[in-house]
């Protein structure tokens, strides 16, 4: 960023900076206002935002000391920031919205009850996540088991083998898988009941992808029935269930802004 020397009045509008007084009012009524340096405009905004690195900020401040145009521009940024900081944190609606909200909450509870015969359990998605975690833990143990040779080709991996320990592990896996699949059905029923509240595009994408994953897991299971001692197939099945779990969690509220949305710190407390 360089300083430019002063120039005659005719060119002054095109000559940034030119030094002079703090507020650039050295320009008389007959002279156009000085403009900021073209290469400084973005940095001035960043300086006011506090996002410039210290070295660059120091260089900009040094430049401001001798550039009226840039000082004026900085003052405009500061003025806007101050006005934003002075905005009220909230705005009261013209009327009380609670009665309409309450009516919708009542209607929603009634519709849910009528549609499914029972109120949906709270924390359905958390319930699903917990069931999925149990299933995946059991399945991971099963998939990396060193007891593959015990199972034998014609035996289904889901059947109880002669080895009590392996049988117990397989039974645990089977129970966990059943719980996972049952919970998945419950989650899908919940999604269907709340379809009107969900973003249709997200819903379409999730359900389309879920269908693909379900076909894949079905094929893997069928392959496992034919080749129960295949550890790769087991791992693939576990991975497929994990992907389905992750996909259905898409309907949890986003984490957008959770840790950073504090509002302008200079605007004071919540009214």
């Amino acid at each position: 960023m360089t300083e430019r020397g002063g120039n005659d009045g005719r060119d002054r509008a095109d000559v940034p900076g030119s030094g002079g007084s703090l507020d650039g009012t050295e320009a008389t009524g007959a002279e156009p206002p000085v403009r900021p340096c073209a290469d400084a405009v973005d940095r001035l905004e960043a300086l006011v935002d506090g996002t410039l690195e210290e070295r660059e900020a120091t260089a900009v401040r040094r430049h401001l000391a001798s550039c009226a145009g840039c000082r004026r521009e900085e003052a405009r940024h500061v003025d806007l920031s101050a006005r934003v900081a002075a905005l009220p944190r909230g705005i009261e609606p013209a009327r009380d919205l609670w009665p309409a909200i309450e009516a919708r909450l009542d209607a929603g509870a009634t519709a849910t009850h009528e549609a499914r015969g029972a109120r949906a359990p709270r924390g359905t998605f958390a319930w699903f996540a917990a069931a999925a975690a149990v299933m995946l833990t059991a399945a991971i143990v099963w998939s990396i088991s060193d007891r593959d040779t015990r199972f034998g080709a014609p035996t289904s991996p889901l059947a109880v083998s002669e080895d009590p320990a392996a049988g117990a592990m397989l039974a645990t896996y089977r129970e966990a898988e059943d719980a996972f699949l049952a919970t998945k059905r419950a989650v899908l029923a919940e999604i269907e009941a709340r379809r009107a509240d969900l973003d249709p595009e997200t819903l379409r994408i999730v359900l389309d992808n879920l269908e693909v994953m379900e076909r894949a897991s079905l094929e893997i299971r069928e392959a496992l029935e034919r080749d129960p001692s295949n550890p790769s197939l087991r791992r693939m099945l576990v991975a497929s269930y994990r992907r389905q779990s992750d996909l259905l969690r898409s309907f949890e509220p986003p984490t957008f802004g959770e840790s950073t949305a504090t509002g302008a710190s200079s605007r004071g407390t919540t009214p």
């Binding site: 909230g90 705005i91 609606p93 958390a126 509220p253 802004g257």
Partner: protein, 189 residues
């Protein structure tokens, strides 16, 4: 559920009741506790919705929708974090989702014959008048106004705004710069 009409009763929102207690009770299905949360935070939600939509009637609709969704999703709120940012997150997504739906509706219609009337919005500013910032914000185009409100007014990060809008951080920074420039021009007029 029965509403406490008129003034809020002490049982609904006594000053001494901790917000976390209201949240806990609301999560357990206590509608009066949820009303208490509504009373405390409706101005934040409505203010955000109004600034994003520039339309009071749409903002009212979005505010209602936000609280209905929050009631449905309250069990998903992680109680170890501040509630207001999460609430405003839901409100932002409600507004953006609605905006996408409205655009899809417009796209399906004939753009010349069936386009909905434009939102009522001041289209010009009297030169020399003391235009306040709220009115100036409403004159901004949708994209610039959204980024300005979320970043400068509400304090969200560019990364989060870009993610919510499905655009790059470069785009949100560019929109913010544009919004600030336009606001300065309006305010300086």
């Amino acid at each position: 559920m029965t509403a406490a009409t008129g003034t809020v009763s002490q049982l609904v929102d006594p000053p001494a009741v901790d917000e976390s207690l209201l949240i806990r009770r609301a999560r357990e299905g206590d509608a009066r506790a949820f009303e208490g949360l509504y009373r405390r935070l409706v101005s934040r939600v409505y203010g955000l919705c109004l600034r994003l939509t520039a339309d009071p009637s749409v903002a009212e609709e979005m505010t209602q929708e936000t609280f209905v969704r929050v009631w449905q999703k309250l069990h998903l709120f992680r109680g170890d974090r501040p509630f207001a940012p999460w609430l405003l997150t839901v409100a932002t997504n409600v507004v953006l989702s609605d905006r996408r739906k409205r655009r899809r509706t417009v796209d399906r219609e004939d753009p010349i014959e069936d386009a909905p009337p434009p939102a009522v919005r001041p289209t010009s500013v009297a030169a020399g008048a003391g235009v306040d910032l709220e009115r100036a914000i409403r004159t901004l185009p949708d994209g610039a106004r959204t980024v300005f409100v979320l970043h400068d007014v509400e304090g969200f990060r560019h990364e989060d705004i870009a993610g919510a809008l499905g655009v790059s951080v470069g785009t949100t920074k560019s929109q913010l710069h544009r919004a600030r420039r336009m606001l300065r021009e309006v305010l300086d007029a």
